[in-house]
Symmetry: C2
Subunit: 349 residues, 2 copies
Amino acid sequence: MKQFNFEEHSHRRYNPLTGEWLQVSPHRAKRPWQGQQEKVAEAKRPPYDPGCYLCPGNTRAGGEQNPPYTGTYVFKNDFAALSEDVPGGSMQEGEFFLAKSERGICKVICFSPRHDLTIPEMDLADIAAVVALWQQEYKELGSLDWVNWVQIFENKGQAMGCSNPHPHGQIWAQESLPDEPAKKQKQFSRYYQQHQRPLLLEYLQAELHKGERILFEEEHFVALVPFWAIWPFEAMLVPRRPIAHIGQLSAAEAGGLAAAYKRLTILYDNLFSVSFPYSAGLHQAPTDGQEHPEWQLHMVFYPPLLRSATVRKFMVGYEMLANPQRDITPEGAARMLREQASVHYKARQ
Amino acid sequence: MKQFNFEEHSHRRYNPLTGEWLQVSPHRAKRPWQGQQEKVAEAKRPPYDPGCYLCPGNTRAGGEQNPPYTGTYVFKNDFAALSEDVPGGSMQEGEFFLAKSERGICKVICFSPRHDLTIPEMDLADIAAVVALWQQEYKELGSLDWVNWVQIFENKGQAMGCSNPHPHGQIWAQESLPDEPAKKQKQFSRYYQQHQRPLLLEYLQAELHKGERILFEEEHFVALVPFWAIWPFEAMLVPRRPIAHIGQLSAAEAGGLAAAYKRLTILYDNLFSVSFPYSAGLHQAPTDGQEHPEWQLHMVFYPPLLRSATVRKFMVGYEMLANPQRDITPEGAARMLREQASVHYKARQ
Ligand SMILES: O=P(O)(O)O[C@H]1O[C@H](CO)[C@@H](O)[C@H](O)[C@H]1O
Ligand SMILES: O=P(O)(O)O[C@H]1O[C@H](CO)[C@@H](O)[C@H](O)[C@H]1O
């Protein structure tokens, strides 16, 4: 009988960060695709769009006017999912009807006044300003005594539900620890109790040793495709030294995060010569007033594209009902990304 | 201060089936939408399409020819994610690199020879034939000694990654218990040990008592929107008496499942007068050779549409990184579905 081979045969991989499993079907990307094609919205955008509610000086849907900002700009979401003035309340009827009110604050961050840019095309100094704003918001929101989790994220591209191409991200701060970080909290705590080291930092060492899933190594940050990556080109940025949250980054390290953010998104854009959609964001220590030495800051990227600018991976029937499943190996994805030029394709045209 | 109100204020709800939480932002559906619009593929299809690889008599991408079938038709997926002849193998390096080979069988089921139909438009007797085939496949695949989980599901519509509109579903049978059912297994077992009753059956009683999330009640099956529904119009079909798996349904009950499947999907199609996309499937007892009195068969429906035929809910940034989040209440969704006519909109034109 044949030898088992991870590059060829179906298998399951364990994710020590969440305690969950991933199913891998390496050979499956060969199947023909007759399904939905994504729209490629590559029409050149103007630097200023009078119809964009995020451009400087324009009026937003909620009626407020943006200032003529020249750097980053942050404001409370006009249609926030969470709000501060939710009255407390809860419901508990037996084991089946359990609910509680949830307070929160939702903000929007414009990354740049320029309507036509995206992170990989922005100047490093301007991305560093975004990181600095993240640091400030994490600190300010996190210091509210009722805020226990600050979720910083970016939805990029129509395929990721982003309704405006103006470069921007979001921050949702709230009372409860959400489900995804709660899984990590559990795994990180257990590991830390046993080893007195953050799990993710130990994992980083193991990946650096292996090398096959590393995308690039910089002085302060490393980019890699995790062993258990769900999305075809999922990736992660991890600082090399113990950093529980973004507030602990030195100025040089914050600059390192900005540089890695730009470098990774350039690889993404170059892969299919398209503005690569993704959801990305920071996972870091809860802001519950405790020390969290078990946490290691990391920025995760979940991009949906699979084979080309127009063919995405659908996480549907089997994935929703049974188990996340991927069609190419994380190692293969890492190889493809590493092969990309480090200069943005548009800058080469 | 205002009173807390579930129809108005953000809150979190507990899902006792998985042990996870859902975040609800009732007011949020009011925000304007300038993002991606779904294509509405309502062009009338012919009953037979010479270019369709699922139509009777046609040749499939893998080269095989379909028989001139007249009812249902099942075959092994030509581009299967899982296969039977995967050699055994595993990897364990410390706590970070843990993987094992996975054997499985992936099948495709054509629901009808008619290219132009969907479940809500099919005759009841023909849907009953689909249910009968599910019973047979669950039994046959489940009786293989290495198969411990049989996942029966349907991806419907381009928005759900379905690459062919010919009415069909899939079955993936495999060695391991996947993550989603593993969560339910844990919750169901614990509840059963405490109460000697299946959790879901007790939950059904509680919902029947409340009434507000019930879509319809039939002799054998009830349709409801679960208290913790993630997707805007998520729903569930549950049999009224203890049934661990589809093999335990009497002929009358199997007919009841077919009828409820049709009735629910008619409500769906009528909601936005469009062929309503969804992923749906059965959750039932694992096929590991054990008795599973803790399990109650249920069919779940995860449809992506939110506000109209073209505006879907995106589970992206916040949802992927933090927590599933919905924009209308499950109770509101149940009301909207209950108001729909029981006759399919096409049959009324
Ligand atoms: O098997 P199909 O219909 O080609 O593919 C579809 O369903 C599968 C199972 O949910 C998914 O893995 C694919 O991403 C999806 O496109
Ligand atoms: O807030 P936005 O950009 O309008 O909305 C987008 O991101 C949110 C947070 O991930 C999601 O809940 C929405 O479904 C998505 O369309």
